[in-house]
Homo-oligomer: 404 residues x 2
């Protein structure tokens, strides 16, 4: 007998009919003799409905009240799912973050899970009850409801898995698992049986929306096996773990992210600390600055510095970059709002120079210009024109033999 945490996303709980299917999944695990703790998101559309109500009042709502408001979505789905489980003759009980003893610290709207005693959950499991816990929320030491960042229900599930030393944490969603690329764009994309935390982290930070990055990091740190699978189609999904024994291809997928913008500060007088200063200020402003590149011109002893930010952050970043350029006596700022990020994900890529040149060759052969390229442990990313993103993804997917 194992202890399994099962987390269901909003699309899996979109209506009572979908919840019926979820009930069957839970009961299958129970009937196989496992203990199960369920973690739920809000019903699909519910969080957006609540946010829309608050936006009718103010664009920037008070964080405490925002949390009090949107956290109700998960309370509704937890209660409904408990009723469904009871109807099938099982003991079940909904728990809010507070009732499940999920203690948080930090700011509202992006609280961190500080501690889960697990006492209440263990007590219910001991009595044969299926606890149905609201994801995405907890209670701080002021007895206030706090929410984690959006998508935080994954994190709730993994943190509960860690607290209870669960054998596995199953993340049910509307896709069958992790694919080598987005099947809507790369029709030849294939489902991966297994993937490592490092690769999953690379994918998560590269626009593959299946799992929240923080949740994967938490799982990695606590060595929680995650399985991503669909609540609509049967299958064993993708197991995310540290299991390096399995013989696997070096390259595991192609990821891409639209809605990027590129900003370049040209002609920065050479001072060693300037670029670091820019990056520090950007981080303070809470931008995710990525794909940084600098070029030193020996001719006039100036530096050109480029980076990408998400298009949503572009207006503020552009404004800030112009002010900064003036301050540091740079020549000019140029920007491009029509770029995309295209990446190849896999283990040990950084140490293989061959990968970068293969990417260059593949894209250049079809006339796709690479503005910048950067590599890390588990990925090589490029910045290209947004219009070439899908085509480039299919080219790389084929070039690295990922097709099914």
């Amino acid at each position: 007998m194992s202890l399994i945490i099962q987390k269901f996303g909003g699309t899996s709980l979109a209506n009572i009919e979908c919840m019926q299917a979820v009930t069957d999944i839970i009961l299958k695990a129970k009937n196989a003799g496992h203990d199960v703790v369920v973690v739920v998101s809000a019903m699909h559309g519910e969080t957006d409905r609540l946010i829309l109500l608050s936006k009718q009042i103010t664009e920037i709502p008070d964080s405490r009240e925002y949390d009090a408001l949107v956290s109700t979505g998960e309370c509704v789905s937890a209660a409904l799912l408990s009723l469904l489980l009871q109807k099938k003759g099982f003991l079940a009980c909904s728990l809010t973050g507070q009732q499940a003893e999920i203690k948080t610290i930090g700011a509202h709207q992006r609280a961190e899970i500080h501690d889960i005693t697990g006492n209440k959950l263990r007590e219910l499991l001991f009595k044969g009850v299926i606890p149905v816990v609201t994801g995405f929320q907890g209670m701080n030491e002021m007895n206030e409801v706090t929410t984690l960042a959006r998508g935080g229900s994954d994190l709730t599930a993994i943190a509960i898995a860690a607290a209870l030393k669960a054998d596995e944490c199953d993340i049910y969603t509307d896709v069958e698992g992790i694919f080598t690329s987005d099947p809507r764009v790369v029709t030849q994309a294939k489902l991966l049986d297994k993937i490592t935390y490092a690769e999953m982290l690379a994918l998560a930070s590269l626009g593959a929306k299946v799992m929240q990055k923080k949740a994967v990091e938490y799982a990695k740190a606590n060595r929680i096996k995650i399985r991503v699978l669909s609540s609509f189609k049967s299958g064993t999904g993708t197991l995310i773990s540290d299991d390096e024994n399995v013989k696997k291809p070096l390259v595991s997928g192609v990821a891409f992210e639209r809605r990027q913008s590129k900003l370049s500060i040209l002609g920065i007088p050479k001072k060693t600390e300037t670029v670091n200063f820019i990056l520090n200020v950007m981080q303070t402003l809470n931008f995710e600055v990525d794909m940084t590149m600098q070029h030193f011109s020996a001719q006039d002893e100036t530096i050109d510095f480029s980076f990408t930010v998400h298009l949503d952050d572009y207006p503020v970043a552009f404004d800030f970059t112009n002010k900064l350029a003036k301050n540091i006596s740079a020549r000019e700022v140029v920007s491009d709002k029509t770029v995309a990020k295209l990446s190849v994900v896999g283990l040990g890529m950084e140490s293989h120079a061959g990968f970068s040149s293969k990417i260059f060759q593949t894209l250049n052969a079809e006339g796709i210009h690479i503005y910048s390229i950067s590599s890390s442990e588990a990925k090589i990313s490029t910045v290209i024109d947004a219009k070439h993103m899908e085509f480039g993804a299919r080219l790389l997917h084929k070039a690295f033999d990922l097709e099914c």
Copy 2:
């Protein structure tokens, strides 16, 4: 400076626009120098939406989960109203029943308020914050969300008024106050400035839906002044208190209740305890049995026993009455599903025989037959054919000089 509790019903909070009007009412009291604690119902339609979701699963949901589900409605309106108050530049903070320290005992769905320490509320008031408390709910000693009976937000407001020794509890709704009769039926009905608890209780139990009976009882026991008024129209509404000094008419209103049914057990062999037995069993079944009447026939030494129940309870009551009649060897059961209750409300009516005869004369003169009549401290009620209800109400309203 006074402390005022302001409670707003679902129609007053139906959408953000309505909530704006509510905000203005609260801020008017604040600007007049008063301390204010706000109690809110769920937005109009929200509780029904949640109940409908649970009904898609089961007709009789588990009470604990039902409470967890429907209690979210008030959390949403409390957070939204707090955001609106903040937008106007005031400090405000939503509180769930648990956060407001509203401790309950008793069964889910019909919990009783056991204790409100008031510490958290006093702390917030001291800091100049407007607490916005979710009505209708509290937390039991098991740390579970419990709801009071439907309409329990009135009770929450009055219990908070009692705990904080507030000067007044204002119940804002979609009508301007308490009228001498339902203005939709009796166009000449007029708004009452004042009314006593006893009269309000008589009205509340006679189908005037403005306030929940239990809430009025709680206010009477704790001598909390209630004011019923509209959040849509300005005015001073109706003050409900014990103030007997005010010279006022003896008769304060005409109330009526449709959807009644009459059941009669005919030819019950005379035994003194039989009728009591019937009433006891009915109470066990949780029917509100009203307007009981018995008639002894000296000729054959049998009793005829009649009573009314709400039409919703009729099917079960009819079934039960037939079984019972057989058991006690009664001759037959006859029933009528098209009756209504029509009542005159006022203080000290019972001791004035003249009132009953005036009711008889007024209705009989227009050919309206009275099936039964009963009187208590603050009312005289009759059972008549439902089709005559509105006409009878207008006749009595005129006969007792209540017109404006």
